[in-house]
Symmetry: C2
Subunit: 183 residues, 2 copies
């Protein structure tokens, strides 16, 4: 951030009165521009024991598989975001179930939330951001081609809990990945 989005003047990083962290501050109009974590919401669409994955048509991780998920928008709920992302990326309709994982990814200032969901029909197809969409049984999951660590972690927890016969909401924190690997 270099310019004030309110008045167009240059901003500087300084600690406002009563605050403890440097903020992008405008000396001209006084605006303080806070940067806050973003929420990514997704779903595990289930159909007769299989789960729906999307193969990414965009960067990062072009060509890798993921659950339908994306940035939560203003004026929607987390469950609405899960349903919207599933419709956009897989053209699939779901009934959103319980929240299943909430994973902090502090090194990229994101919080990833994934819901369990029931796929309502088999009329799915790739949306604009997907190359392919398909249902996978547990032993068919392409573990080496999963796009993001939060998605792989969520899928592992999902199959673990399914074996135990009870799904439990889980909160996790991810530490930075080894160099040369994406979050």
């Amino acid at each position: 951030m270099k310019f004030c989005s309110n008045c167009g003047s240059t901003v500087e990083l300084r600690i406002p009165a009563g605050d403890s962290l440097p903020r992008h501050t405008c000396a001209s109009c006084g605006s303080i521009h806070y940067l806050n974590p973003k929420i990514i919401v997704g779903a595990i669409p289930e159909w007769e024991g299989r789960v729906l994955l999307c193969r990414r048509a965009i960067e990062p991780r072009h060509g890798f598989w993921t659950l339908p998920a994306g940035f939560m928008e203003n004026a929607e709920t987390t469950a609405q975001a899960a349903a919207r992302e599933t419709l956009e990326e897989a053209c699939a309709r779901i009934e959103v179930g319980d929240m299943f994982t909430l994973i902090n990814v502090p090194h990229i200032s994101q919080v990833h939330i994934v819901y369990r969901a029931r796929l309502l029909d088999l009329d799915f197809r790739p949306g604009e951001e997907s190359l392919d969409v398909a249902l996978f049984a547990e032993d068919e999951i392409p573990w080496d081609e999963i796009a993001f660590r939060t998605i792989a972690l969520t899928l592992r927890r999902y199959f673990d809990d399914r074996r135990l016969g009870a799904f439990d909401f889980q909160v996790e924190d991810l530490t930075p990945p080894p160099p040369a690997e994406l979050a």
Copy 2:
């Protein structure tokens, strides 16, 4: 948002290629400025059956009582945010427990998350944003003077669950309040 924070030119609202919603877009440098929901994180600090509340020294809801809570910062986890806000607003140290409520407030594009927590000692006092800090038993809670609906809802669920002898993570959505009342 009127100006591009990257180059200082004026921005316009238009739907980018491949998108479905209008975004603040810069015709000069091509930056797209997304606005996303913000996360508020708080804690229910518990001490021998009583909970710690703070009386607000700032607007909105100056003079009303609330749980320690505030905007999550970049580069921290939700649990770290709960501990930091409790330290800032009540100068109190807690051991953060399980996530207890996640409440969507879509009409103000916020997600409120509250953790259960164990107050570690009685050495608390008002921080800069609080007029007063005190412990309340259930029958002492000033229900008519609670600052925010998400906090009142969380406290009611907390005492309900405590009576049942088991705390369950709960996801809720709040609809807009009646006119003349704050969210």
